[in-house]
């Protein structure tokens, strides 16, 4: 399995779990504010889960950058040390 595809699936699954919505609601280009649950608290919960599940470090700078699934995937591609599914 391609690791990029794998990360995309894992991110979609993670967001579905954090925002408590069906995975089909997590579209590939979903961004901050597109779901009511992706608000400030939802965003920060997602940041914490990204750290835990992907082993990446999320800083104050990156919190404001990771505001869409494409941005998250790019960040993971450049920073992940892990953990292919």
């Amino acid at each position: 399995m391609n690791s990029q595809v794998s990360d995309a699936e894992r991110v979609q699954a993670l967001l579905a779990e954090v925002f408590q919505v069906p995975q089909e609601d997590i579209t590939p280009d979903l961004a901050f504010g597109d779901l009511p649950q992706w608000d400030s608290l939802g965003h920060m919960e997602m940041m914490i889960r990204l750290e835990e599940q992907f082993g990446v470090e999320v800083s104050a700078d990156t919190i404001a950058e990771l505001v869409s699934i494409p941005a998250i995937l790019t960040y993971l591609e450049n920073n992940s040390h892990s953990q292919a599914a």
Binding site: G33, P36, L41, A64
Partner: protein
């Protein structure tokens, strides 16, 4: 570890995890809400020791255990996994020379300029009132620069409004509730005949009071957002200004004019598209930079976060920091080598637009922002820097206040 003194007990607690420097003040402020028996709380600057002054007759293992468990819960919730904030300084005039370095409160009280009614409640005399009027003139000048429409809002705010913007979960500790006697002849007669105050307050049984429907308002701008709710924003953008009494209960943190339960806030508020709100917030900062230079205030503008309660603090504070949503004007208090927030530049993204269904012409939720000033605080900070002798004041302030 504990010591008994005539004032109560001193209890020291070692945090389970060291409190980082950027959270020392935040954790210390929250310890005020841990237990009613705590009369003072201090976190060592190193973050590895907490000292509590506790009102209790005797030290017991149970008391120690109760306090330790609650304090550790605060620390765990606020500190574990906390993101380090990015501090951004937009202006730094902290070293602007000022002539005074005493705590002005003693002289203010001696001259009858400040009179304490109760904890966190003060009456102000003519000099302080005129000084506040001077600052109000500056803030009204700021509002005029944006053609901001004037508004007046009630001091009460409906509970259902605050619930709608998640205020209860974000700031439960600072709420001030309003009630009245139940509409029941027996209850009212009973109150009229027996109401009395002891050292703890009014002796009335709690079931004499009606269910809470309103609170004392914690902020001015909320009223504007509620008045715009559930409809398209007329003209797609709005600048407004209002002044009002605000209420934030801060327990043992209430102190002098620095931290009041009942204070006055002037706000200039922007509602509209993101770019409009952010541009005006920045324009307001630049306008106020000139005003504060004329006023001679020593201050710094730096990123900050709202005082969220323990449960939401870690996430909300980090979010505000990361997205640069809040900047505070922090004035120098020379007598204690610290700073005091006297105003703030705030951007709420589309939080209120979404939660209150305020829509722009394209159907998207409106963005909001506000520039807010604490009137008592800015007067106090000025007096802490310049003293009460008007001859030492900058000419522009002296002439405006004294003619």
């Amino acid at each position: 570890m504990s010591d008994t003194t005539h004032a109560g007990l001193t209890i020291e607690i070692t945090p389970g995890v060291a409190i980082p420097a950027h959270l020392v003040g935040e954790v210390q402020s929250k310890l005020a809400y841990v237990d009613e028996r705590i009369r003072a709380a201090e976190v060592a600057p190193s973050g590895d020791r907490i000292t509590l002054q506790v009102q209790a007759e005797e030290d017991t293992p149970q008391l120690q255990a109760e306090l330790d468990e609650k304090v550790q819960r605060v620390i765990d919730t606020m500190v574990k996994g906390a993101f380090k904030p990015k501090i951004q300084v937009l202006e730094d005039h902290l070293q602007r020379p000022t002539p005074y370095n005493q705590d002005p409160m003693q002289e203010l009280v001696a001259r009858g300029e400040v009179s304490q009614e109760a904890t966190g409640m003060f009456s102000l005399g003519p000099l302080v009132t005129r000084l506040i009027d001077y600052f109000e003139d500056q803030f009204l000048g700021l509002a005029d620069a944006f053609d901001a429409n004037p508004y007046r809002f009630p001091t009460l705010i409906p509970a259902k409004y605050l619930e709608r913007v998640n205020y209860f979960s974000a700031f439960p500790h600072s709420l001030s509730f309003v009630t009245h006697l139940r509409e029941d002849l027996d209850v009212i007669d009973e109150f009229a005949q027996h109401a009395a105050c002891d050292q703890h307050g009014l002796n009335t049984p709690p079931d004499s009071f009606a269910q809470v429907q309103a609170l004392l308002s914690p902020a001015v701008c909320y009223h504007l957002y509620f008045s715009l709710a559930d409809q398209p924003l007329p003209n797609g953008r709005l600048a407004a200004t209002a002044v009002g009494s605000c209420f934030r209960y801060e327990a043992i943190n209430l102190a002098s004019l620095e931290r009041l339960w009942n204070f006055t806030m002037r706000e200039v508020i922007f509602v509209g598209p993101k770019d409009y709100v952010l541009k005006n917030r920045e324009n307001a900062r630049q306008h106020m930079s000139q005003v504060l230079e004329e006023t001679g205030l020593a201050y710094r503008v730096e990123s900050a976060n709202d005082p969220f309660f323990i449960g939401e603090f870690r996430k909300q504070a980090a979010f505000q920091s990361a997205f640069q949503l809040k900047f505070e004007i922090r004035a120098r208090l020379p007598f204690e080598d610290s700073t005091l927030a006297v105003g703030s530049y705030n951007y709420h993204q589309d939080f209120f637009g979404r939660h209150l269904n305020i829509s722009l012409p394209d159907g998207s939720p409106a963005h909001t922002g506000c520039v807010a000033f604490g009137l008592e605080r800015i007067a106090f900070a000025f007096l802490a820097q310049y003293g009460l002798d008007v001859r030492d004041w900058p000419a522009s302030v002296r002439e405006a206040v004294h003619g």
